[in-house]
Symmetry: C2
Subunit: 398 residues, 2 copies
DNA sequence: AGACTTTGTCCGAAAAACAATCAAAAGTAT
DNA sequence: ATACTTTTGATTGTTTTTCGGACAAAGTCT
């Protein structure tokens, strides 16, 4: 026995179904909606009223007449509410506010070490969010949900980081609980690479169902979208390819304790270290980037070799999950085409024709925005789900 | 406009929803069903009637009384109809008939080379199926759907093999069309490794959502179940790990044209070839198995090395998709623990603690039946889907 | 301007689900 | 053995939801 909601306005009950159709933002007439859903025109009218009442849908001007009275069109009202998408990285944090269509309204990127711990970082996050909102003429009450990416393994169901290597104080911290106490809404938390994968797929390849997003920066990780859904694996550690062993590095130690890890050979710090060892004066990956752009051959060769190392692992990934697109993101991928060239060289050589003939390997197009976009989408997926919409209309009519 | 079904019997409309609850075969009383679904007892009664009418549900004796009148229980009627599951392998074919609970009623395994082409093989399949059915006192009219596994890449949506290397004459052949003309039902066709993965998961690990099934026989392939669903990839070639390159084989040519493929190093024929090269008199993998069982050290070493080779690839797979169980199947895996030991050695050494601490690596438990079970499940998934049930009740009341 | 077409709304009819009632079937107590 | 209690399973009237037609409104076309 768990049904208490009685005072439902007429039509509101199943209005969420109609809403799912309109989530894409495409304006439609009542007649179109009726023929798509198979419902009677009167029923559509009833449900539309409920959605208009919630302000989730707005009438958009009139469509052109086909001989008779011109129909009015209805579409998602993107500015009814907002979601917050945050990417809390190792050293920098980006917070964005998106409307209901997923369009980012504003973002702000700030230096903010995750190592300051959850209380400090989240308090800052809340403060920053309030500022961004008031800058948009919004209040925290407009927030429907929060999406958040963290630089470590996260148990997505509970939103708690699990044994994160670089997030002291965050292990097991109840992030959604904190957010709920602060803003009264649900928070969806995930690994930062996962939200980047979602963001990139939605922004650049909305029709692709099998995308492998690879982030190459301080570490190396992948986000896997298969069959249109993000794959997290049994413990949520799917995509952790940074510590896969590669041939070239048999005797190079990695901070994980093993030898020959991809991350010890092809990450930003690893590339810089290799160049330093061969006598080039570089401090960080930033210096390497400058040298590559200046045409320094050693640096170019090192980056391309890193690409080949990554390609070695990705070749196996291609055979295993058969994606149609591999996207390279992260700071190292922005060095230019050299990394990409190395990856392509190895992947296309080693993959079976069936898997590689339709495979594109490209650079991230969403780049820095990918994470915030992905976090917003995670939030929207929850906030605009049929269940959430039903709950909204139930609350409204109560 | 696409609604024509008007003459629906009362309650039949949404009866499929109730049916999904009862698919597990667990008997339930009307009161239980009402409290689970949240529907009124009278509504449950109405829908149950519709399902009883279709014979999909039977009353099972009475449950024990709790002081008053004992309730009668209702459960799936497994023997109402059947599905056919077939595994058409390279040289042998297995056909099975399962009831609606997925329990295999009868199987028959016969030497039948797939290379005879679709017309010959499928005609034989149809004939064999009829015989099996009449042996069970059934007719082809009892078939709800057919599931089928083929030894090559299959475009699952259309059921057509695509560029299969060992199936002359099958490329692009419309298998579901053929089956539909013969039996009037839908056929679900997939790669044989995929159906084995489904079968193994359902039989041995029904609660696991992330399972990697690896078949080691003449070839090497994997079936991936992630998040509870089989992953097929963009072109349906997900799991084709046979031609991933491994370190040890840098100079060993593979029939695919590349060098160092896993299949060229660790498949049944490859193990036999390596032993022959080192002077052991073996013709096939069968001979190797005999030697291993007899305790021949060279053979054991060769098998264990194959396990380590496979483990090398699987270590990457574990990092990438984070399964909770890896199952080894196929003829080579039946040699004993030696292959498994090799796999475990490498996988546990190379995987991150987070991914491997909850990882089991085991031998197939369903073994030969896995494929037929999986094919049956594929058929049942379709045949007992809400849509199919709705269609059945619509036809019934028409 | 008038005929025509299509939309948007209203309203009664039909269908579905609900809630309450009641007889039947068993166990339990006397 | 009989009365009583409890819970099922069927029935009936009520409420909610959806449908389908009717009709006015708002345009286009001649």
């Amino acid at each position: 026995m768990e049904r208490e909601i009685k005072a439902t306005a007429p039509g509101s009950a199943a209005a969420s179904e109609l809403f799912q159709l309109l989530r894409d933002g495409v304006p439609r007439t009542r007649a179109e909606l009726a023929s798509i859903t198979g419902l009677a025109r009167s029923t559509v009218a009833l449900r539309l009223d409920a959605l208009l009442e919630l302000d989730l849908i707005t009438p958009i001007g009139a469509a052109s007449s086909s001989g008779g009275r011109p129909p009015s069109q209805y579409a998602l009202n993107p500015s009814a509410r907002v979601v917050v998408g945050a990417d809390l990285g190792a050293t920098h944090a980006t917070i964005g506010v998106a409307d209901l269509s997923g369009a980012i309204q504003v973002t702000r990127r700030t230096a903010r070490p995750i190592a300051e711990g959850p209380d400090v970082v989240l308090a800052w996050f809340a403060q920053e969010t309030r500022e961004l909102l008031s800058g948009l003429g919004r209040t925290p009450a407009d927030i429907l949900a929060v999406g958040m990416g963290l630089p470590g393994p996260v148990e997505h169901d509970t939103g708690r980081p699990t044994n994160p290597p670089i997030m002291p104080g965050w292990d097991g911290f109840d992030v959604p609980g904190w957010v709920h106490r602060e803003f009264g809404v649900k928070a969806l938390v995930d690994n930062d690479v996962n939200i980047m994968a979602i963001g990139e797929q939605s922004r650049a390849f909305p029709t692709a169902t099998d995308v492998l997003f690879v982030k190459v920066a301080t570490g190396i990780g992948a986000g896997i979208i298969s069959g249109g859904v993000l794959q997290r694996g049994a413990q949520g550690s799917a995509g952790d390819i940074g510590h896969v062993r590669i041939e070239r590095g048999a005797h190079v130690p990695c901070r994980c304790g093993n030898f020959g890890c991809l991350e010890a050979m092809a990450s930003g710090p690893a590339i810089a270290a290799q160049l330093r060892a061969s006598g080039t004066d570089v401090q960080s990956m930033g210096d390497v980037s400058d040298l590559v752009r200046a045409g320094d051959l050693d640096s170019i060769r090192a980056v391309r070799q890193a690409g080949k190392d990554i390609g070695e692992v990705l070749a196996t990934c291609v055979s295993l999950i058969n994606p149609s697109i591999i996207v390279l993101g992260g700071s190292v991928s922005r060095v230019g085409e050299h990394l990409l060239a190395g990856v392509r060289e190895v992947v296309y050589q080693r993959s079976s024709p069936l898997a590689s003939q339709h495979l594109s390997i490209v650079q991230s197009q969403a780049n820095e925005d990918a994470a915030v976009i992905g976090a917003s989408i995670l939030a929207l997926q929850h906030a605009l789900s049929p269940e959430s919409i039903d709950e909204m209309s139930a609350r409204r009519s109560a």
